[in-house]
Symmetry: C2
Subunit: 162 residues, 2 copies
DNA sequence: TATTGAAATGTTATAATATAACATTTTTGA
DNA sequence: TCAAAAATGTTATATTATAACATTTCAATA
């Protein structure tokens, strides 16, 4: 267990197809190993989440699903997102009410930290053990038992900073 | 600027009237010093937020306002909450879509950390400079410039832990 | 103190996010 | 093959939040 940038900020011209392929492949592998069913619908929602490195809104996914699959309705999307979140394949960005694909679902991480670039909209994901440890330590001093932590940091990414 | 528990978890039998009085008094003082108008409506919303140490939902505030003030509507509440948040008198807990009174609006704090007890529902607020510094340091290493940070930690508070 | 522009509030409507409840279909495994 | 469980379909509704414009209140100053 090491400090890790689970998903960095990527340049505009990176090969995003590769990100998508890696995400889909590891999702399939993970679900298989866990005995979970990545149905066509769930897979399609995961693909739609992975369109970009910006968090995606549930109703934007729904609009796209409807074009392909006229029976789609809000529960269609929310159920798929719930499943994907349970498997750790997708995270919800609480401050944006939007969803982003997890860049490292393999190495389990209870406590991610998200960096949100207010300029380009992209989100990076860290699993920094020093941060998690410090939070644990600090709240323990107060007698608090930490179960889960949400860290969302808004600012400007290195690429937008030049 | 020191590490500070802005608002601790309080026992069930603490004198909450005192919390309320301190909050209202410091709000009045703060607004006066800033040339901001704490109108009766805004003050009333602040009082309703300070009913408990649990975050309050906007529509719960609205229901109570309506009883006193039949012309209340969603914008009534959201405008008051917006004003109170701008003054630093109220914080939004993003993971709950709910609002909580700030325990230390005087000492300005850009980056609070919130501890949410999943058992009693109460929320404590920290302004821990070590946490803020570590976050800043960690994201700086990645070339990221931090503007604001949201830290919301869910667990069990010391009182509920015994 | 009368005027006026800005701030605050009132009012109606609607947008955006999410879940409840029940029906039907598909999958799995005995 | 059959029954139970899981997944999806379907309709309705709950929850959270903002847009747009009208009216009222407030504060500065002419
Ligand atoms: Zn990519
Ligand atoms: Zn992740
Ligand atoms: Zn109290
Ligand atoms: Zn505060």
């Amino acid at each position: 267990m090491k400090n890790k940038v689970i998903m960095p900020f990527r340049s505009a011209k990176h090969q995003h197809r590769k990100c998508q392929k890696i995400a889909l492949d590891s999702a399939k592998k993970l679900c298989e190993s866990q005995g979970q069913r990545l149905t066509p619908l769930r897979q399609r929602v995961l693909e739609l989440v992975w369109q970009t490195h910006e968090p995606v809104k549930a109703y934007d996914i729904l609009d796209q699903l409807k074009d392909e699959h006229s029976s789609s309705a809000p529960p269609t999307v929310y159920r798929a997102l719930d499943f994907l979140q349970e498997q750790g394949l997708v995270h919800k960005i609480e401050s944006l009410n939007a969803y982003i694909g997890c860049g490292g679902p393999d190495e389990s991480h209870e406590h991610s930290q998200f960096l949100i670039c207010q300029q380009c909209g992209a989100v990076a994901e860290l699993d920094d053990i020093d941060i998690t440890n410090l939070l644990n330590e600090k709240v323990s001093e107060l007698g608090f038992t930490m179960q889960t932590g949400m860290v969302e940091i808004v600012g400007v990414c290195a690429i937008c900073n030049h």
